[in-house]
Symmetry: C2
Subunit: 322 residues, 2 copies
């Protein structure tokens, strides 16, 4: 998708965009979070909202209208509540961009600006939803307000294409086997992260582990950890900490210091040790999640091998009617 | 707090409010979520953001300024990152309202509009943070845009004072003992909810259970459940479902239908059976959480009695330095 051109076209036909709503379900929703997080922090005029599709349908923002942009993502292209949300937004007069892996799906509709993205191991970050959504946010900021980090974010998106493959090899060598062993020993564990990375904390839990491994776990925000959840920490309880490389890292560091002295079952994935030092510090908070997603994929695969549970296995999704 | 007067005063001195940020940590943050949720849905002009305090400090919205209102809540009045966030907001020119239980605390500062709220069993909903925050949101909507549900929300807040005591007795009779037994049998379980109630799904998990009972659990959004987490469901896995009484209930009903046929360990707290039918349907989504909080208190107390773990017990919070 040529994000620059799409945003320019939308602004030309809709006038200035006042609200962006990122709408999807599960893994697709997770991919849109860093762009939402960046908009919330970096925009001086545009509101940003992030919704699971059904909640967007039920509790639709009253503002939704001509000056709204809805970015909807559905990998299959046919997620019913996501398609319904996109149609609702279109009817309300909003500009609607849909991202899907499936040409000809319900997402791929002339009412929407549709991007059919490729999927697979070697697809550049800029061409998958986590990169596309950041580029859309960057172009919108640039076109309407100017965006001092414009070059930094694009350079960072490109840098991820080098960082991720190297990080995969490193995580395979260093973390995969110990992680799989910890999973085998713990029927339940906690995952911690913060900032935009919290999307991949959530995603590791609900997609990689609950969905693909039937592994019970809980996701906790590193900043919120000290306001309740840390009371459940003790030796024998397994914590997996995702440490960011940007400003939000301060929250993860505080959690690390506590965890190191209060449990003997701790695994840390520090993005700074996995190549994020090559990215401009001012945009690391928005890009760590690309790395963390790729690491989640490796870790779940390792667990699957150890416990003989392929990440492709489903017993309900796409199998039963619900 | 006279919310009407405070909002009028703020609008007079700051001009129209364009953004409201609800900022706090843990249980206090949870209390502010329904007001944020209502603003997001009902406002045609005002943006609403909801932040754990440290993240607000680190990833401060660029918009924060004269036309922003920050509502900060700290029960003790001295939560360091929350106090720091309020000071940051004040320095940026924003109007700052602080809610605290502690007169003379750092929250109770002449730079802020401070409400010192009472706490205890028989305090009216309108005088505690969950009610105050809704009244602030309602007054802001009313003053700047008009708000068709203005009377309905206030009538609903008052109705909670009758609904909650009756619901407490009912939950004590019907759910407390079975819940405590299920906790004794399950070292880990899932809690589901949606909409504004998701704050109490999260709150039940991180405050009532992890913090006050050292009970491992995970919180799942009912709408997101079908996009990953449901694959972990099977007989023997305990799910606690909080069902709302408003429009968001549709998400909980879908989860209910699946859970009833896919696990044999299910407990349902249906707010419609606990008195919420007395509230105007158009505002139930915003008020269920008041009921759910009170039920969480009863349920954790019952677990505490059964497993000899007082909800007042802490091993780290206020005990260690962290």
């Amino acid at each position: 998708m040529n994000s620059k051109k799409v945003i320019e076209t939308i602004i030309k036909s809709h006038g200035p965009i006042k609200q962006v709503y990122w709408v999807a379900c599960g893994g697709s929703l997770i991919d849109l979070y860093p762009a939402h997080f960046m908009m919330q922090s970096e925009s001086s005029t545009i509101e940003s909202g992030w919704y699971t599709s059904r909640e967007f349908l039920i509790s639709t923002p009253k503002k939704l209208g001509q000056h709204s942009l809805v970015v909807m993502c559905s990998h299959s292209g046919n997620t019913p509540e996501s398609v319904e949300a996109a149609i609702l937004a279109h009817k309300a007069g909003a500009a609607v961009i849909t991202l899907t892996d499936c040409a000809g799906s319900k997402c791929d509709d002339p009412r929407f600006y549709t991007c059919v993205y490729p999927w697979g191991d070697d697809v550049p970050t800029l061409e998958i939803p986590s990169g596309i959504s950041l580029s859309l946010a960057a172009e919108l900021l640039y076109a309407q307000e100017g965006f001092a980090k414009y070059d930094a974010i694009y350079n960072g998106i490109h840098a991820m294409d080098t960082i991720v493959p190297a990080a995969k090899r490193k995580v395979q060598q260093e973390l995969c086997e110990p992680f799989a062993s910890l999973c085998a020993a713990h029927p339940f564990f906690y995952i911690l992260g913060s900032g935009a990375n919290f999307s991949q904390t959530y995603g590791f839990a609900i997609c990689s582990l609950m969905e693909m491994q039937w592994q019970h776990c809980a996701y906790i925000h590193s900043g919120e950890y000290f306001h309740g959840p840390f009371e459940a920490t003790e030796p024998g309880v397994f914590y997996f900490l995702q440490m960011g490389s940007g400003a939000c890292r301060a929250m993860d560091e505080r959690a690390l210091a506590f965890l190191q002295t209060h449990t003997d079952q701790l695994m840390v994935l520090d993005t700074l040790e996995y190549g994020m030092d090559a990215v401009d510090p001012s945009v690391r908070d928005y890009l760590d999640s690309v790395l963390l997603y790729a690491m989640n994929v490796e870790l779940r695969a390792a667990r699957g091998r150890k416990l003989n549970h392929s990440p492709e296995t489903r017993r309900y999704m796409g199998v039963e009617t619900y």
